[in-house]
Symmetry: C2
Subunit: 427 residues, 2 copies
């Protein structure tokens, strides 16, 4: 007999079925044993004669298969239940370190992550990664439709993208190598290689020593790069449409998950843009927050987001025209001391960095020298810019941050299946 998934049972009333899944709950009455069976599509109540279960020693979270009949049952929430005729245990669960079947999983995050196989079964944790998968799929579908090519660039590299700091080093046979911080150089090379528009979904690595709720040392970067742009505004406009598509895709395809999590996906408006200098003035004037640095700190990001939401209704804001000092050497300069660059804040957190890149050899070489960097270290990269490189720009979205902000998770680790951080290398 073919297995019937729980979500298909309602169409099989009064039929014989085979249900397979985990035993989420067991309630033994004198004349009947109720089992709640969970599979990847939902949960169903099974009523069994206690004699059927007598010798099976079924424990919570054991995996079983149940032959039975779908009977109308008005007292059940779904209007039916499965009356068991035969139960086979496929895999017995032993004693469980955490209980995953309560309404909330009231254990510290460290235990949630230590017991990942169990915690992911929890009704309020499992949907996080279904929604994350939908975000990624929407990213891919949208960009395919815009003429982008999905690419895979190496994560083992001979040197760092933005200088030698915060790199994980490894021994690559006889040579010293590093884990890639960003596919930046490869994306640009592939634009110049004639693909014009490329995207990559892949891991990047930052050996940052601090441990905050916003940082992971290994995370998934949604990267894109596009040629023949007029300015960084083309990149922002694409991201605006991209996010609108991703959010509406999640809204359409993850209703069950969103309802479970109590999350309402915001509509993505035409996202307001604020030049960095204006943002500083605004923070000082409206929020009594003075920023001396050439970049926003986390509090500044939160206050600015809050102000924009309250005045425009938008949960997103582009901060543009960052000072030259704080942006990497490949960023296109603009006017006096600024750059063609932007960050995107979503609900108080930076989820994207992007901008237009320098596309001519001499300007790039000069900018590297002006930054005080060693031109020799970037020689092979710079060389590509005398092969014919179109004006281009791009961005990177941190997948875990985007997921966490959308779902209201307080720690980015909750949006990573198996996070790697300053103190965690397992499971």
């Amino acid at each position: 007999m073919e297995r019937t998934l729980v979500e298909d049972l309602k169409g099989r009333l009064n039929s014989e079925v085979l249900v397979k899944g985990w035993v989420e709950r067991i309630r033994e009455l004198s004349s009947v044993t109720f089992l709640i069976i969970r599979d990847r599509t939902g949960r169903v109540q099974v009523a069994a004669d206690p004699r059927l279960c007598a010798d099976l020693k079924i424990s919570t979270e054991s995996v079983v298969e149940i032959y039975g009949r779908v009977n109308p049952e008005p007292r059940s929430k779904t209007g039916y239940e499965v009356v068991a005729e035969q139960i086979n245990v496929l895999s017995l669960a032993g004693s469980l370190p955490i209980n995953v079947n309560g309404p909330d999983l009231n254990v510290p995050l460290e235990l949630v992550l230590d017991n990942r196989v169990l915690s992911l079964r929890h009704a309020r944790i499992n949907p996080i990664f279904r929604i994350q998968a939908a975000l990624v799929h929407a990213f891919q579908v949208f960009l395919n439709g815009e003429g982008f090519v999905q690419v895979f660039s190496p994560k083992i590299v001979a040197s760092g993208t933005e200088g030698g700091t915060e790199l994980f080093a490894l021994q690559y046979f006889e040579e010293k190598a590093y884990l890639c911080q960003s596919p930046q150089f490869y994306k640009q090379m592939l634009v110049g290689a004639g693909y014009e528009r490329v995207y990559e979904v892949g891991h990047v690595y930052r050996a940052e020593k601090h441990a905050t709720s916003r940082h992971l040392n290994e995370y998934v970067s949604l990267d894109l790069e596009m040629g023949f742009i007029q300015s960084e505004h083309d990149v922002m406009d694409l991201e605006n449409r991209l996010l609108a598509f991703m959010f509406s895709y999640v809204n359409e395809n993850c209703q069950k998950e969103l309802v479970t999590l109590g999350v309402k996906v915001p509509t993505v408006p035409e996202i307001p843009k604020i030049p960095f200098a204006d943002a500083l003035q605004l923070l000082e004037k409206e929020c009594a927050k003075r920023i001396e640095d050439q970049d926003l700190d986390p509090e500044g990001e939160r206050l600015l987001s809050k102000y924009v939401r309250e005045t425009t209704g938008s949960e997103f804001v582009f901060v543009t025209d960052y000072p030259w000092e704080k942006r990497p050497m490949y960023t296109m300069p603009k006017g006096s001391g600024l750059t063609c660059s932007f960050d995107l804040l979503f609900r108080g957190l930076e989820i994207t960095t992007g901008g237009q890149r320098i596309h001519t050899h001499d300007l790039l070489a000069a900018n590297i020298r002006r930054k005080g960097l060693d031109p020799q270290a970037f020689a092979s990269y710079v060389q590509n810019f005398s092969l014919g490189m179109p004006p281009h720009g791009g961005l990177a979205i941190g997948l875990e941050r985007l997921t966490a902000q959308l779902l209201g998770l307080s720690n980015v680790r909750e949006a990573s299946l198996f996070p790697r951080d300053r103190h965690r290398l397992t499971p």
Copy 2:
């Protein structure tokens, strides 16, 4: 004025257009200069008054934008050409180390890879990665449709999947860590975490010292794992349908690229299955090839594939029931000395390894001991199998191998944008 892509010019006859791209060829006659302009969608002939080009010093592979008019021109292959009214150089190309505009790129593979930005512009190289992207997209679309969830598992791990050999080591803050050889353990954990069906497209790392045309030290693995299977045949049947979908998707979406490469995509039949022991007998009887080992060598794979193609017409063959000695400790044993495992050969090369996995704690623990492995090293993995784990199995397809075999590339490096091998860490 908005840019018109080359593929859209035919719909703009007698209109003013803006074309942007690379200068693939320059032919200067006394009264007219012809430029072939290439963008991501194709090539077009541009006719320009020599005076328009006089001061521009346009070199081959420079990036230009051309304002002009699409005129009917019966002598052109397309039936039209663009008559230039203004030409702006966006980025001048210097002298080029290789010529990428001949019919074939007659340079050694090492030079092709050293000059990747240029070589990828070649008409016969560029399509490889558009087809590869289509294969990946089809993999993702098919599995989404089958209820699989796309996941991202860590590539920095505390120990190796299959023992401590062939691992790249790195320093992870105070700890020693490794690059992941395979998402095997994570896939299995996620099946057990309730997702039942997961897939991952991600890099894996093998520190293999030998350098052959079939091996990369970093490659993209198309991984999947599925729960509640009856046997490894469920996994093979899924792969059969998956490959049929992927190949037909490429056929429908990459006609232009396939024609350029002269590649005909084979239809995927019901793939024949041959138990390993029968394959050995067959090789000895039909091909005078004797194999003493418990695995096929490359010549054995080629001969068996050839025999199957000649006798059944199939370019694929599943070799099943491999001996216990040669399969990893997590492989489900079968009968006396065999396993529920398979390899898939495509045109003489193994492109998939898969099978059913052990899903019960005690059998797994016993198999690890029987293999002579250290149970302590796998303790945290084995522990998951007392949490309720469904019967499951899965497979991994090497993306570069699949691409190379489909397109008839003789070296797997040709199917990697930026390959990493024994001697190559750049670009």
